[in-house]
């Protein structure tokens, strides 16, 4: 035991050969090894990343050492975990010791309150955790200030309410919430996700922890907010010497910030080491599949760059949509015009709330609009009568973000697919069956899948079924609303490959909506950037770089994409003020975040809506200050 403690002198968190297995059926014979012989080390002041796809055991590992898994499922534990030399597992209260072959076998035992209390103290003080969905982790009934006070009291901070309040506000300012005094009295639903995540971090910092465990902290956030959060992590490490264990499925995030990385798969660490070393000279094929998921895209030129003289297929003219939110209302789509040419991929990017999905739903006539035209081959889709609409719905199809939500769980795949054809009674049963096996083959699924229920399919297979569902009516235009963002990286690549294949073979036109800028660059011919319901820039894929971008917002988006310690991106990000996006009235909506406006205070930006004008290089931009 002494030897062990000496070894731990310098590691903050030291996990050795940890196994967490769950009984599969309660018989004590079949086990699911959620965490299998994992050894992991975090040193003080170090940012360590764990990367792996969903189901690889990342979260189980963390919940396990924090004692948060208890009672969930009967499990068997093996191995050791130390925090600052203190053994964690006995505190987890998870085991009765049982010697077998020299190893300690740990089993769930009934609640042991004394140990639970010790662990609770440890959890709030030495290790703190922040979770993926910050607003879900904050109690909606408590104000931000009450959350902070509670966290401060819990960490046994001395002083009365006023002193604690000053302390709390200082902490909030420390994590970049400049407006902390105003925030103090707000409820969690009144602040943005990025702010909520910062509040969580400020609460975590109350106890002056040694280790911060961040479980997918930026997954639910926009790319710009994510960049700010990662910057904050870096600052906390430098300022407070905080060690951070960062769990993520996003290789960019890990690459950007962590010094060392552990690659997890099926509950095992397949590779570990210095981040740069691991990601550049990976040994394990799985790491390769993560790093190079999209590598083969780069070598294939985007299918036959759409000619500028290609026929226009879809034209959206000054589309407007107003949303009512309580007593406030705002333009979700404000005078958006764009044009899709036949056979091209037009990508729409922007932060959440920029109106991308609203645009998709509006042009699919799935919601009403407040004005404008959607011309499909010169015909206004919004004015089509019922019968014409049915015909149009066959030619314009849509892919949705969450395949599991789109497929009715009570229907077989075959029933889901045939529905699009059955409704008009034009096809015989035989023809429909033939079409089904044809499209299933096209999306590389076995025809036998037609008899299965969506519940029995993997997420990737489900998304293939939704693609088949769209293809079965032989569409011309496919509106893809974040079709891959809920999927794992490897499956994302497969689906993107599939979409690209169809474009080449069937001549499909895509309107591709995504917040993932890297993905968009690989697939799109032209890219439109939306901000607060307006199209602020349109650029050919080649000009979509931090240098080529005309609009400051596009530059911010591109610079926020995590990349391996890229100094220019970081310096561009630093130009922009750290403010939350607010809906402004009149003029340029971006001006409160725009470094150019803040420098020049151009009155035009305040009064006049910038028109979308042509610039050199074939793009368009809506900015008073951008050059030609």
């Amino acid at each position: 035991m002494k030897v062990v403690e000496e070894k731990n002198m310098h590691s903050l968190l030291d996990i050795r050969d940890l196994c967490i297995s769950f009984e599969r059926d309660g018989s004590g014979e079949k086990y699911l090894h959620a965490v299998n012989r994992i050894s992991l080390r975090v040193d003080p002041g170090e940012i360590v990343g764990i990367i792996g796809q969903s189901g690889s055991g990342k979260t189980t590992l963390i919940m396990g050492i924090l004692g948060l898994l208890r009672g969930a499922v009967p499990g068997v534990w093996r191995g050791e975990a130390f925090l600052d030399g203190k053994s964690l597992l006995p505190l987890c209260g998870e085991y009765a010791e049982e010697k077998s072959g020299g190893k300690i076998v740990k089993r769930n035992t009934p609640f042991q309150s004394a140990q639970e209390k010790l662990l609770g103290d440890l959890r709030g003080r030495d290790i703190v955790t922040i979770f993926q969905e910050p607003r879900a982790a904050l109690d909606p009934y408590f104000r931000v200030g009450e959350h902070m006070l509670e966290a401060l009291r819990r960490s046994r901070a001395p002083g009365g309410e006023t002193e604690l309040r000053t302390q709390g506000i200082e902490l909030l300012q420390d994590v970049g919430l400049v407006d902390a005094a105003r925030l103090w009295d707000l409820h969690p639903h009144q602040i943005s996700g990025g702010m909520a995540q910062r509040v969580m971090i400020a609460m975590a910092l109350c106890a002056r922890p040694k280790l911060l465990v961040a479980d997918e902290p930026s997954t639910a956030l926009d790319v710009t907010t994510q960049a700010k959060l990662l910057e904050l992590f870096r600052r906390l490490r430098d300022k407070h010497g905080l060690a951070i264990l960062l769990i993520s499925h996003d290789i960019g995030v890990i690459q950007e910030i962590s010094q060392r990385v552990y690659v997890m798969r099926h509950g095992e660490v397949v590779e570990s080491g210095e981040t740069r070393e691991v990601l550049e000279n990976f040994q394990h094929p799985y790491t390769g599949s993560l790093v190079k998921a999209f590598a083969h895209f780069e070598h294939i030129p985007a299918t036959s760059i759409a000619n500028s003289d290609a026929v226009s297929l879809l034209e959206i003219k000054s589309l407007r949509k107003r949303f009512q939110q309580g007593d406030k209302s705002f333009w979700a789509l404000d005078d958006v015009s764009l044009e899709l040419r036949e056979g091209e991929t037009y990508a729409l990017v922007g932060e959440s709330g920029s109106g991308k999905s609203t645009l998709a739903l509006s042009l699919m006539v799935l919601q009403t609009v407040n004005g404008g035209e959607v011309l499909y081959k010169g015909e206004d889709v919004l004015k089509a009568d019922k019968k014409r609409m049915r015909a149009l719905r066959r030619e314009i199809r849509m892919l949705f973000q969450h395949p599991e939500a789109v497929l009715n769980p009570g229907m077989t795949v075959g029933a889901i697919l045939s529905e699009g054809l059955e409704k008009d009674g034009e096809f015989t049963r035989n023809e429909i069956d033939q079409r089904i096996s044809e499209v299933l083959d096209q999306v590389h699924l076995d025809p036998s899948h037609a008899l299965r229920f969506p519940g029995n399919l993997s997420t990737g297979e489900k998304q293939r079924v939704t693609i088949a569902r769209a293809l079965i009516t032989r569409p011309k235009l496919l509106v893809c609303d974040e079709p891959v963002s809920s999927l794992d990286l490897a499956i994302q690549a497969q689906i993107m490959e599939l979409l690209r294949e169809f474009q080449g073979r069937l001549g499909l036109t895509y309107l591709f909506i995504s917040h993932n800028l890297q993905l968009v660059k690989l697939l799109a011919h032209r890219i439109g950037v939306m901000y607060m319901g307006r199209l602020v820039e349109e650029a050919p894929a080649g000009g979509f770089t931090t240098e080529g971008a005309r609009h400051p917002y596009t530059r911010l988006l591109l610079a926020s994409v995590p990349s391996m310690g890229d100094e220019t991106s970081r310096s561009i990000c630093a130009e922009f003020p750290d403010v939350e996006p607010v809906r402004l009235e009149g003029g340029c909506l971006f001006r409160n975040r725009c470094p150019w406006y803040l420098k020049s205070r151009n009155p035009e930006c305040e009064n006049k809506t910038p028109p979308l004008r042509n610039v050199l290089g074939g793009g368009k931009v809506a900015c008073h200050l951008a050059g030609d």
């Binding site: 699919m364 799935l366 019922k386 609409m389 049915r390 719905r393 066959r394 199809r397 849509m398 949705f400 969450h402 939500a405 789109v406 497929l407 009715n408 009570g410 229907m411 529905e419 699009g420 409704k423 939704t466 569902r469």
Partner: protein, 347 residues
């Protein structure tokens, strides 16, 4: 053959579903095929054998030897005159006959008579009532008269409640408002009072009564369906169905009703059947429902009111068992389905 049943037993609610299903199946079978295999018609009065207990036909035959039967036959021939006199009395007022029966506890001779009539194979396996009507025929006819009005109640409750719920859940605005007012009005009236009022105003027809019962159940069904539909309408697959070009009618019937709410439909069906059987027998017992000479389990019991304590237990006992089994069957079926559904949705 048996394995699917065994598989059901392993699931939550399985026992209840299987037991209930069996009872309901038996009831339905009896209702449909009853007229083909019953030996007597329910309105056929066997004046020779009133108030025959079930035991005599059933057990004597099993327990006595051929010689014993012969001896009994002989003793009957000696007692022949008494048989005719008793049947004459039965032709008179029913009530009087029953009272007479009470005044004169069965003598040795009458016991012999009864046992002999069993030997002559009068065929009343479960005995007869005071009019000499066969109990089995009565029970079968009673099953029919509680099953069919139950179906009427279900048809009204589900036939109006389900579409109303689907529309109110799917369309905002007018439909929802209409459903709210309609359901509110119905809920504001106590069920039994409403039924009794309708009976008083219209002629007391059991089908009308059951239709009224069904109407009082509309709010429950429609609100249940509307709430589910309201939640489901916001889900991706309804949006996707619209995107796929399906009309509202198809979305409502296929996606929202058949694939998402059919379980609710079947659960409600069995629960309403159980409730309507209970209501029908109650009303018939109170002489507001099925009127004699039409037969219902309720009015069989009502007719046996005076003979029950004089030892003719069977006239009350068998219909009561039938009522309990039928209601239990439907309740178990609904309950089991409910548990099964909750389990499925929980996954």
């Amino acid at each position: 053959m048996i394995s699917p049943f065994l598989r059901i037993l392993g699931k939550p609610g399985g026992y209840r579903m299987l037991l209930g299903g069996l009872l309901v199946f038996l009831l339905a079978l009896v209702t449909i095929t009853g007229t083909y295999w019953t030996r007597f018609k329910p309105d056929e009065m066997d004046f020779e054998h009133p108030l025959v207990p079930p035991k005599s036909a059933w057990l004597t035959r099993l327990t006595t030897t051929a010689d014993g039967r012969k001896a009994l036959m002989e003793s009957h021939q000696n007692a022949a005159p008494s048989t005719s006199s008793s049947s004459v009395t039965e032709e008179g007022d029913d009530l009087l006959g029953a009272l007479k029966e009470e005044e004169h506890p069965p003598t040795e001779a009458s016991t012999a008579k009864v046992e002999f009539s069993a030997l002559r194979d009068h065929g009343h396996v479960l005995g007869t009532d005071k009019n000499g009507r066969d109990m089995i025929a009565l029970l079968v006819a009673g099953a029919r008269s509680c099953f069919l009005p139950g179906l009427v109640a279900c048809a009204v409750a589900l036939g109006i409640g389900v579409p109303l719920g689907l529309f109110a859940g799917f369309y905002e605005g007018r439909w929802r408002m209409f459903a709210r007012i309609f359901n509110g009005t119905l809920l504001s009236m106590p069920r039994m009072v409403l039924i009794l009022v309708v009976i008083c105003v219209l002629e007391p027809n059991v089908y009308i009564t059951m239709a009224v019962l069904g109407a009082t159940l509309i709010p429950r069904v429609s609100e249940l369906i509307a709430t589910r539909v309201r939640i489901l309408s916001g889900m991706g697959f309804i949006l996707a169905a619209k995107e796929g070009g399906l009309g509202d009618f198809r979305i409502l019937t296929r996606h929202l009703f058949w694939y998402q709410n059919r379980a609710v439909f079947f659960i409600q069906f069995s629960l309403i059947m159980a409730e309507s059987i209970l209501t029908e027998t109650t009303l018939s017992y109170l002489q507001f429902g099925t009127k004699p000479p039409d037969v219902s389990w309720g009015n069989i019991i009502e007719g046996s009111r005076l003979t029950f304590f004089s030892g003719q237990y069977w006239i009350t006992f068998f219909p009561a068992v039938a009522i309990i089994m039928a209601i239990l069957g439907f309740f178990y079926l609904g309950d089991g389905l409910n548990a099964r559904l909750a389990y499925r949705e929980g996954r």
